[in-house]
């Protein structure tokens, strides 16, 4: 919370994409368990493309790609993204099929602070694959008052 206060001291409440509530690494682990159940999650096949350092946490571009032939017999069924410090651990869940041809999804996310992001892909054989990345969010300096 202190991290993103601003020069004039009046904007702390408006700057943060989120309020003081916060997810934790445990909450993220719990959210992941809800998606994967008892299945093992193997690191690999997933690429999580995020800038390592971003000037503003409000809009962080993110692309998840999964190595897969994307055929009816062998494809990615879902891509889930989680974070450990925003108020809620879930970022998004995308459903895919062989119709996508390519298992790549892009969007932009909010990060209240520097933190770890985890992407998990579920393949059509019921297996789970993952990748994670750490993002550093630069502290803002001159921001505006609440308007």
């Amino acid at each position: 919370m202190d991290r993103r206060r601003f020069l004039a001291g009046t904007a702390a409440i408006v700057v943060l994409p989120f309020g003081p509530a916060s997810a934790t690494p445990e909450a993220m682990a719990e959210a992941i368990r809800k998606v994967v159940g008892d299945a093992a999650v193997t690191e690999g096949r997933v690429t999580l493309d995020l800038p390592p350092l971003i000037e503003n946490g409000n809009t962080v571009p993110l692309v998840v790609s999964v190595e897969s032939p994307m055929t009816v017999a062998d494809h990615v069924k879902a891509i889930h993204v989680f974070n450990e410090k925003n108020p809620q651990p879930n970022v998004f869940s995308a459903r895919l099929s062989a119709r996508n041809g390519k298992a790549t999804v892009g969007t932009r996310i909010k990060l209240g602070d520097s933190q770890k992001i985890v992407a998990i892909a579920e393949t059509s054989d019921g297996k789970f694959w993952s990748a994670s990345a750490d993002v550093i969010v630069t502290l803002a300096a001159c921001l505006e008052e609440s308007t």
Binding site: R5, A12, T138
Partner: protein, 140 residues
């Protein structure tokens, strides 16, 4: 003439005795009391109270992204006496008219000040003393 006198008096009044400048220093505490270095560290680290780390870096490891517009605060206590630090914080312009250091304990002679800060100093006398006490501990 009377208005001018009044203005001068108003300027000197709040801490006239305490702000006695001797050479390049204000030797006496603004409050008559020594400051608290622990509280001073917290003020320096706070980006909306002390604002120091926006421009300076300093040995405050937990605060990432420190500024580089001004010299590091590390070693400030070796380079300057408490009195010298005090004058530089109170109103660095008295030593160098071109300084970018904001005047932390001067509320006059400023232009276009936001209404909610009008007539107020950036730090209180006690806060200045706390910061002086903290910076004095930063020896090389």
């Amino acid at each position: 003439m009377r208005a001018l006198l009044a203005a001068v008096l108003a300027f000197l009044a709040p801490a006239a005795a305490a702000q006695q400048v001797v050479g390049d220093a204000i030797p006496a505490s603004l409050t008559g009391q020594p400051g608290d270095a622990g509280r001073g560290r917290a003020i320096v680290a706070n980006r909306s109270v002390g604002l120091c780390l926006l421009c300076h870096s300093g040995p405050i490891a937990e605060e990432r992204f420190q500024g580089d517009l001004a010299p590091t605060l590390a070693g400030a206590g070796s380079r300057w006496s408490e009195g010298q630090l005090r004058l530089r914080i109170v109103d660095g312009a008295r030593l160098n008219a071109d300084t970018i250091m904001p005047p932390y304990y001067r509320a006059t002679g400023l232009q276009q000040v936001a209404r909610n800060f009008e007539g107020k100093t950036i730090l209180s006398a006690a806060q200045v003393e706390d910061v002086v006490a903290y910076l004095a501990t930063l020896k090389d």
